[in-house]
Symmetry: C2
Subunit: 763 residues, 2 copies
Amino acid sequence: MFKRIIFLTLICGRALLSTLNAQSPSDPARYVRPLIGTARMGHTFPGATVPFGAVQLSPDTDTIPYSSDGKYNKDVYKYCAGYQYADPTIVGFSHTHFSGTGHSDLGDFLLMPGTGALRLNPGTADRPGSGFRSRYAHTEELAEPAYYRVFLSDAKVLAELTATTRAGVHRYTFRDTTKSHIILDLMHGIYNYDDKNVWTFIRVENDSLVTGYRQTNGWARTRTVYFAMKFSRPFKDYGMKDFDGNKVYRGFWRKFNQERNFPELAARRMRMYFNFDTRNDQQVEVKFALSPVSTANALENMKAEAPGWDFDALRRAGREAWNHELRKIQVDALSQEQLINFYTSMYHAALMPTTYMDVNGQYRGLDQNVHQAKGFTNYTSFSLWDTFRAFHPYLNIVSPSRNADMVQSMLAHYEQSTLKMLPVWSHYANENWCMSGYHSVSVIADAIIKGVYTGDPGKALDACVQTARNRFYDGLGEYIDRGYISADRNGTSVSTTLEYAYDDWCIAQLAKKLGRQDLYREFSGRSSNWKNVYDARIGFMRPCMADGSFRTFFDVLKTDGQGFIEGNAWNFSLYVPHDPTTMISMMGGKRRFAAHLDSLFTMHLPDEFFAETEDITRDGIIGNYVHGNEPSHHVAYLYNYAGQSQKTQARVRMILDKQYHNGPDGLGGNDDCGQMSAWYIFSSLGFYPLAPASDSYSLGSPALKRAVIHLDNGKTFTVIANNQSPRNVHVRQVRLNGKPITSMMINHADIIAGGTLEFDMMK
Amino acid sequence: MFKRIIFLTLICGRALLSTLNAQSPSDPARYVRPLIGTARMGHTFPGATVPFGAVQLSPDTDTIPYSSDGKYNKDVYKYCAGYQYADPTIVGFSHTHFSGTGHSDLGDFLLMPGTGALRLNPGTADRPGSGFRSRYAHTEELAEPAYYRVFLSDAKVLAELTATTRAGVHRYTFRDTTKSHIILDLMHGIYNYDDKNVWTFIRVENDSLVTGYRQTNGWARTRTVYFAMKFSRPFKDYGMKDFDGNKVYRGFWRKFNQERNFPELAARRMRMYFNFDTRNDQQVEVKFALSPVSTANALENMKAEAPGWDFDALRRAGREAWNHELRKIQVDALSQEQLINFYTSMYHAALMPTTYMDVNGQYRGLDQNVHQAKGFTNYTSFSLWDTFRAFHPYLNIVSPSRNADMVQSMLAHYEQSTLKMLPVWSHYANENWCMSGYHSVSVIADAIIKGVYTGDPGKALDACVQTARNRFYDGLGEYIDRGYISADRNGTSVSTTLEYAYDDWCIAQLAKKLGRQDLYREFSGRSSNWKNVYDARIGFMRPCMADGSFRTFFDVLKTDGQGFIEGNAWNFSLYVPHDPTTMISMMGGKRRFAAHLDSLFTMHLPDEFFAETEDITRDGIIGNYVHGNEPSHHVAYLYNYAGQSQKTQARVRMILDKQYHNGPDGLGGNDDCGQMSAWYIFSSLGFYPLAPASDSYSLGSPALKRAVIHLDNGKTFTVIANNQSPRNVHVRQVRLNGKPITSMMINHADIIAGGTLEFDMMK
């Protein structure tokens, strides 16, 4: 906690002075702390980006693909976003980063300015000066929306970063002007397992423009990013080093030396450098535009988004883009810390999925062909196992047209899929098949049912149905035949069965809305398959063998090997968000169920079991309740269905309080592409989408004093919490537009119609 | 010779029977022997292609990248075209081949049908049955224009091949129907030095359509070929093997086994197989379309060029496309063998450069971006050091619009070049920088001066001038400053100086035509630089040091290390095609020069020096005159300038007779992308373009009895040789349209105007 206070003082000083009343101002960006989540497990990045931008220009402190003995290093997991707050050195600034993932990729095109002797190896953090990396101090670092600044003390360069949607913009001030240079590292990559570089192709078009692409085989098996890089003034000279020893065809070496001032370069692994004379002008700016399609498109993107050389104007425009997003919800908070948590959550919930389309509408499809997006913005990086829960529902309220485009992007993926599968975890024209379920159907059904996606709903339903009938996919054939996935063959048989059942219910809801009774019946039937893995004798979901018997070996505290993914039976057994009433009844009725939840939140998970809990710090757990992994995100709201809403209220406020802090270590687990943040936003507002694809929200306990949601349709939905205080967590009465609510639910239509949701908090 | 007769009997039987009068019929394709040049050094391929087609679908007998000890195997040179006539086995049929090159690449997408046990390794030729390769017999092989057939005796499959411009079409008849399968080898490549595969990406779109691409780092550093493959009927099942051990991201392996029936594949090195049930229908046809741009374009190419399943119709259309080319010159020959040599030469002179553009006009440029060809067909694979001499001038007569498009393609390359260089040796959106000079300027100047290229001549001149002023290129800076390239720094200082001087003369001629006196003066001045490397004391061009002295160590018989490329001083010293008169004068006058030529043709080149003569068989040399390498292609015609035309006539006829035969070993050296063949055609017609970019041709001794050239403008130019016989090689009189010629020259305009060139041969 001490550390956290120091951090706040350092980076929040200005904000603290100006907003003591804790009301959101016209510039809510001032409350955003991009550094939150950059320590330990948050896996967020501190660099410059704009909402849902294609470029995330951010410092990388390390990526450590291998330990010193050359073996694969587990520590690489720390570097999913490239930056760890505790690290003493920065390797450089790369242009693509996931936010809050638990697996990784990207880290494309690292730039690093330097002075003095040229070093083309990064060196190691424990030996400053052993390479081009540089020490820095957090006191000389500033991270804001669309702006990042740090002084690189070994490099003797002040580095400033900003971004447009498709371009990163660097401003380097060389404090020492001896042998100023900028390194372009084309080997650097995040999660560079087994050296993911496949090919690099570079053209030095003239004395200040460089284009090229890099192709990698990482988490995405086949991923190519094209770029155009423009310097604000000519370099003196340039060169490269081929770290594969120039395996490229040598016929031209009689004529040329590829490594010095040769403008057409190709290699699997190379680093480049550009020397500048900075004696008369210490600043060099760099515009670095990306494209999924071609260098020609990258250049077109640059010309459209960053035509000139006004770094400060782009920084202001980036911040204004953020304020435009953040002003969608205006809040009165209980504290400065809460304001920071809230707007940083909104910030983290507007980073992914990312724009994957050039200004001319072209993008690369799953088939690796170039497609033209007609009437929508194409997005990529769908971490759907996480984001279907609260993130996409959140967008349905604050950014419906954007979410509609995301649905369209997912349907385009489906059209391009040889397997006729909606995305599972897709990024950069690739399906990486991470995690389980087919949760695209939840996002699609939710967006259609809530009136957000207005494309052809029949085609969308077809895609959902086809996806859910693909027998080859992850036990789905057996699930269809048997009603569950058997533990004999599948290590996550229980959780996948539970997830399929929920997804099927989503399809059923969509079918119902579209009047497809046949499909409604089929998928409603499938949606109760969760019952097939419930062991009533022990009150938990449990691995079930092909012969119908439950697996003998079973430990409800263990996470590994118990039939669940990222959760033990205590956490994951409650995953029936679409039918909590039946589940509660099967689990012994409301009273017994509430006691079961009490145990979950209050028991102690022994260390040996905690060690198996992925992605989570000790702070990320309350009793045995794991908030840092998603399967229990709805659990606190289940008390509502057990007739003990006051416990929902208390638990939600406790989780908000315990799991989200202002410091770099303020997140108890991966932010998971905005899902953790979306949970925070919903819960702070007092309601939560228990089962997306239903149009209702379960009420909790708002944490803010007041919030005004500015809807796309021009209306506002206001949440007011009377008698709000950190200790007043229980709700005496809730009124929607003045009428008391007893169901502890509101509907999406209630929100979209505009109005006021008023909570009277108990003193 | 015995072998040759047997070969003729085998493959020419039908032609022999039907055309005893040796006149070219309406089906000149019957005289084409694609097998000519497939033994030893010819480096031609026997497979199916159409004129200048993008697809060359041909059997590969081996590629042997490594010897058994894992070291690089020099023998790989034999396999520039993938096929060696003496080899006992065929590995399969790949879709891209150079014709007659001395370095290589390509060999993309090998298909191999088989029966019985599936083997995913090719095995070795000395152990039949050790892999998927199969024995075959030349008695069961037929090679025709646009058609190739062979019975694979181990595979027990009759394989037939035909082609459209952008698609290869296979018809496999399974003589044994046990476990019929077709292998798609995505690792196979010609000149697979150091394993050139960079990446492979495959989609099994449905049960009969497969798309994908392969990217290689071979002679072309960055080359990607896209394909779409369609089977005439569904395969039963399919699979792949990843020969890198599935280094691709393993996250999805819990869900899938990539190696069996998984439709989205990616790996660096893989082979696929497709199993068929051939019990009821023994035939499987395969259409395999290529694209330089995308799989979508490959599919579009297939739909445009081979929409249905009529193999025989495509074969007929391919043959008709060939006849359309071949009928441009109708001949009366002295013999069947001459007819075969002539039409096979025309065939070999219509294989390269190849179409490098999709049916929709898109192609990949040197910058790797996709470009749209506006109003021209884009071509690639320009072996300019060879082809500027006679091949492009030949096209200026028989296919001017095609040559104009080739010029346009070269100018597009220039526009896309960061170095502002016209192509040197370019293929597949890459410059490989092979050989010396900047002979694009010869092709461009020749095409403009002869009225063939009608695009903006000023822009074309600018490209030539810029190219010739690029000081960084291969000694050019020194050449500009000093008037020659010094032997101190450059191993081919003499030949490159000579080539630059000729190229500069071409630019001067173009500048003159366009009224650019300044440039005319500049480049006329440079064009006499050949004098700076002439050592009058010994009568040879000779390496000259930076200090102006000639290098002491010098051997006029040696090829290696004497300052020349692919030629010794005897052969290369005569390379002043643009100013033979001055050269002859400097070499002591006409008489002494003629005696010098006599020596060249009659001396014996000792074996130790012959061994250094690249690409040449013993048959490829006459005295010390090396016809199989290009630098002396104009030499026989130099007697004309020494006042001894009768010796030009005799030598030309001797070369025609000695250097071109009907057998697989009928070429004495690499065909060099049609240059050797174009020499044959010109010389057979009785004239030759001594110095392209001049509009004149030097007369020799026609070898045919009569030839009618059907010009694009509807006119005909007829060559008649009265009293023609194998022994009547000397010309008594030549008349153009009845008027005697004393200059031993005709002009391009004389040909294009139509008319008759009549030679009276001495009895």
